[in-house]
Amino acid sequence: MTTETAPTGTGSAAQPAQAHEMTLMGALRANMRDYGLLLALILIMLFFQYFTNGVLFKPVNLTNIILQNSYIIVMALGMLLVIVAGHIDLSVGSVSGFIGALAAMLMVGWNFPPELAFLAHPLVAGAICLVAGAAIGAAQGYIIAYHRVPAFIVTLAGMLIFKGLSLAILAGKSVGPFPAEFQMLSAGFIPDIVGPITMPWLAENGQNVVLHSTTMVIAILAIVGMVFFSIRGRGRRLARGYDVEPFSLFIIKNVVIAALVLFFAYMLASYRGLPNVLVVMGVLIAFFVFMTKRLTFGRRIYALGGNLKAAALSGIKTERTTFYIFAIMGALAALAGMIYAARLNSATPKAGQGLELDVIAAVFIGGASALGGVGQVAGAVIGAFIMGVMNNGMSIMGVNIDWQQMIKGVVLLAAVFFDLYNKNRSA
């Protein structure tokens, strides 16, 4: 499918005079899927806002939603690549659990001799964990890419192996707590270098609203950057004679996104500011969007997922690309495992179990095709948030875990069903 969010262009370089705007409806229809998913997320949030009597949008709760889902989103980024390439990775939950265990043993569990004590330093241990994760992913990727064993089987085996390995190295016990520096990964917030701002006119029940102003500054910078790049991109398209989306839609889109960013930044700022993990996530999401849309590496993933044989005959090194994808997935599973462990402040033998299913569900809700070749990073992230908001909202409402599972299952099925239904109707 198209990886453009921009509307279609029929202009050609030779005839710049043809440049014109598309109709509003045409542009909306062209990007319906992207808007639809975001709209679904917003509707779900409003639904729970109402049924939780306003708890969902409380600053502390929004911060919680981000913290609770960060590791899912981190893994969903890698899983998107895996699924677009036409594979699947069932091992990510176990691998993340294993890496959490490894992190705990490095920092807490193992008593290193003094000359090796540096291994227990959180930064060194973190680096070792990332490399270990990438190596695990690479090993699975090697078997999948070069020996053509189906990914389903290789990663199913991996799931069992690493589940067992975490049990083994933890000797069946929980290990913790972690050093404070490591906990900062999940529990920390960015420092307020600008200094807090008290907003007495927004006082509620006699309590002043104190804003974490660095968070607001970062949000405003992000918005300025976004607007700058979208204006520049639009200008360049027009200058080269290509169609652009209607000006009205362009303005609406930018205003809506800016408003949403400001709103969430304000929410976070009135609690404790930007969580560290959100910064990590934000950077990763931005990089993966760039990778899938602009890097040749990303393009090759879509090409080989869309038609493996044609990609190979176009000079794409399909084996090597597949290998890298799984290595990236492994590194992300490692990062997620550390975030998870840091959040719980201990590594447990059960950590990470079943996470792979949440991650895979997020990617499919986000519109990826099980046949490969189709899927967007933004979709996977929104898909993960849809699952996350539902978990959070239902928990606040006091819905039992059995019902939660069933409802999530139905939502996954419905999302994919409507996606296919729409596709068939338009085909």
């Binding site: 080269r240 393009r299 005959l313 000079g315 090194k317």
Partner: protein, 510 residues
Amino acid sequence: MTKTILEMRGITKTFPGVKALSDVNLDVREGEIHAICGENGAGKSTLMKVLSGVYPTGSYDGQIIYQGEEQHFKSISDSEHKGIVIIHQELALVPLLSIAENIFLGNEQAKGGIIDWDETRDGARKLLKMVGLKEDPDTLITNIGVGKQQLVEIAKALSKQVQLLILDEPTASLSEKDSQALLDLLLEFKKRGITSIIISHKLNEISRIADRVTVIRDGKSIETMNTEDITEDRIITSMVGRALNDRYPSRTPNVGEVVLEVRNWNVFHPQHRERQIIRDVNISLRKGEVVGIAGLMGSGRTEFAMSVFGKSYGQKISGEVFVNGQKVDTSSVDKSIRNGIAYATEDRKTYGLNLIDHIKHNTTIANLMGVSRWGVIDDLAELDAANDYRKKTNIRSSSVYQVVGNLSGGNQQKVVLSKWLYANPDVLILDEPTRGIDVGAKYEIYTIINQLAAQGKAILVISSEMPELLGITDRLYVMNEGRIVGEMPTSEASQEKIMRSIVRAEGKAS
């Protein structure tokens, strides 16, 4: 006056934004072979899908009168019940089931859900005899060739008490010999009173077996001709709406020095290590030259081309490749491309295109370096390139963002060409460049080939259509059983001469 078995009146079918058929009329007489001709995208397949119930009643306007009654088919099984069976271009057989199992698939010879294997085999044997296929009914589909698979499809149709058999491009992927056998079979069926509708691009076949021809153009039925009026020229004129005086554009060759040379090329079968597929092949191509490789199906032409192009076929490959006098490494596709060799496959859907992606991405995928720096793609440069080649190859689409899977065969082939032109090779190998595409689009592709040659590219064309090779090449190699058995300037070549070198080689081999 024979009875009319089928009458389709005023059929109109619209898809969102497109009128695929408008007021199409078709009448088919009992016991005749009725051909339907038209360019790709003219609406032939859509019409057949309306007839067979793929598009259920209500989703189109117009009437279908079959055996004197108006029909409202809701699904394929409805139409099959009435004895209308359609055999699609892409065969619908299960490769790992046996011939007998495939013939009775969905119609198992069973009592109370338990399959009666004796009945199944006996029935299959009888049907296979009717279609003249000498194979054990227990043979797996995957172990027989495409020609025989086609016969199994027909046997399957017979098992359903077929009265009206529809064949969509039945000979598109068959060799000359298999095609002949199939056409003879249709004539045999005609004697037995089975009516056939055949959709085909091969005008010589149509004029050989069809009683009447209906031509469809741009979703409208243009005319129906009787046998005595059928000539290839007449059909072409009707199909394209204008007289095509020359089916091959003319060209003045301007041949320069040698660009590609392949020496002592030997290739073995990818699975059977002992089976040699290509033996001591030596060929050369010059700048600005269009060279053809003629040969029968299975003579090793595709295997030769693919083994040269990044060792994409076979094992134990030996031999040398020279481009512009330099010995080059073609051990991977990407090295071959970098050394100026491109290969456009004969099977664009399986090996050529990412059907779910749009024209833009398909155009640049073999040369992403051309639109990127440090691995970052320049969006607008890519858009420029895609638009440029869309125009150069005259792809008919709403924009470069149209999904390739929705294009007609001819336009898909132009996307394949765009992709390889954008990679800017010195040598372009075109494997069956006009397979399954209509006369108008063929002419456009020949024109592109001529332009490329004029630009100084060396072009190697593999084709099973001898008139095409004779029409567009400067020089011909003849290949048989993995060897080059003849070489001649096209000006001195003829179909007879080519066949003679093949037959002579066969004589020598045995």
